[in-house]
Subunit: 289 residues, 2 copies
């Protein structure tokens, strides 16, 4: 995994506008928001799914960068005072603290545009039609019926107790949609998959997307700010419903384990091609940060 993470860092640095290009401050802040950061879970999923369809690494790099830029944009916006109002992310001051709010807003806006530009200007599939489908998948995952919609549901849920189906509905949007897009985009960079394979991948993506969120909630409740590189204990302080508040720690831990099992089961038909996806499901559930 470390190899892919280093490769992604290099790819993102190469695919983003240099800070010497005007407007310099915006380009510098975009790089601040997207480089040197995070576990790169979504890029790892792109590469792992690409192994399944024997996709060339050069294509996977670009698709992974596009997904990661959408993720980075959402973090820059979520940390703004009118949203989660956070000052620490990936062990560094958040974008609006390091720069200013207006710049953080534009950073997010411009990172989103860049994600779609990358998907359109590099050759990522044998057929341009497949590549258009990649644009559609990423746009739908990012938009009001995907990630941005999940953020809205999250806003509205603050201070409320959600039922488990409501909590799941929120997270399928907020985290799950982009995780699913990462898996689908990775696979689409390679040879076409049979419909059953695609359905299996979709089941896998749904399980790891939810598992990721359950573990995030557990870590937010249990780990320290230093370990996480972002403010810990924030969810309960902000009155946000989480798996931990809905189910308790023990049952949340069991749920994460069940989802890990389901993710592996969804890969059953793939043989060796699904090895990395399986490892990632383990990493997502067993991580400590």
């Amino acid at each position: 995994m470390g190899g892919i993470q280093a490769r992604m860092e290099e790819a993102l640095a190469r695919l983003m506008p240099r800070p010497a290009i005007a407007p310099e401050r915006l380009h510098e802040a975009m790089r601040y928001a997207a480089l040197e950061g995070g576990k790169r879970v979504r890029p790892l999923l792109v590469f792992a799914a690409g192994e399944l369809s024997r996709a060339p690494a050069a294509r996977l790099e670009v698709a992974a960068a596009a997904v990661e830029l959408i993720h980075a944009y959402s973090l820059a916006h979520d940390d703004l005072p009118c949203m989660d109002d956070d000052v620490l992310r990936r062990g560094k001051p958040t974008v609006h603290v390091e720069y200013d709010q207006a710049t953080a807003l534009l950073v997010g806006d411009a990172l989103q545009s860049l994600a779609f530009q990358l998907l359109a200007e590099h050759r990522l599939a044998d057929e341009p039609k497949t590549q258009l489908e990649m644009v559609r998948v990423l746009a739908a995952a990012a938009g009001s019926r995907g990630m941005a919609g999940g953020q809205q549901l999250d806003l509205e849920a603050t201070g409320k107790a959600l039922s488990l189906p409501e909590l799941e509905f929120m997270h399928i949007h907020k985290t799950g949609a982009l995780v699913r897009a990462a898996v689908l985009l990775g696979a689409m960079c390679g040879e076409p998959l049979a419909p059953e394979a695609r359905a299996g991948l979709d089941r896998y993506a749904k399980c790891v997307g939810l598992a990721f969120q359950v573990v995030d909630d557990l870590l937010d409740a249990e780990a320290s700010t230093a370990t996480l590189g972002k403010t810990a204990g924030k969810d309960s302080k902000q009155g946000k419903p989480t798996y931990v508040s809905a189910l308790g720690t023990e049952r949340s831990r069991e749920l994460a384990e069940e989802l890990r099992g389901d993710a592996h089961a969804a890969l059953a038909g793939f043989g060796a091609g699904g090895r990395r996806l399986g490892e990632l499901a383990d990493f997502i559930v067993l991580r400590k940060f």
Copy 2:
């Protein structure tokens, strides 16, 4: 023009998610931001350029909607307190006043995603390759080297006196990039244009993009809030450099006229196919709101 404006209203209403779909509040606010508003200059440009390449109206509608959604997203974000902090737009309270800041932020984010989704999921060109190029053109126009970059330059220019080339550089990004994208996308929905025709269109787009901004500056200085439907006199109050502050009213008016002449000259080779584009250049320069 009224016919196309009404058609666009109907198309946008149809192409945006219904407010009955969750998250309802976000979908309602997205419609508030994008419907019932504005002169629809960019859609008019899409349709006028489409006349040149004999593009089907059903395609132009979708391309125009994509461009207009990018414009609507930029307005929702520009009006936020951390940017221009405005309360009135198109004669109505701005999105964050009518809803709240977090929702206005997500509205802009989700409108941007939807623009790219529309370009990818409808058939807009004979070749998927052309359609991918449309995604690329719109993404580049919206991003850090286009509109979002222009906003950043605008932020940095506040309180400064810019030279005329600096002012032009800012506006080529802030307004010009999306105007150019509107013209190119409209043309790309139809028959392929010869390279000289594309170059002519590009010159036309550059001229009307700048003319649009010069006239905007004149109207901001001269017209009333009631006529504009947005806060008048804002530029000088905020210490923003404008064509009026750089050149004075008279010379700005002359410049707009020169650009109108240049726009018509760029259309010289097009004959009857360029008629609507010529009318639009007149509308853009001679408008009173």
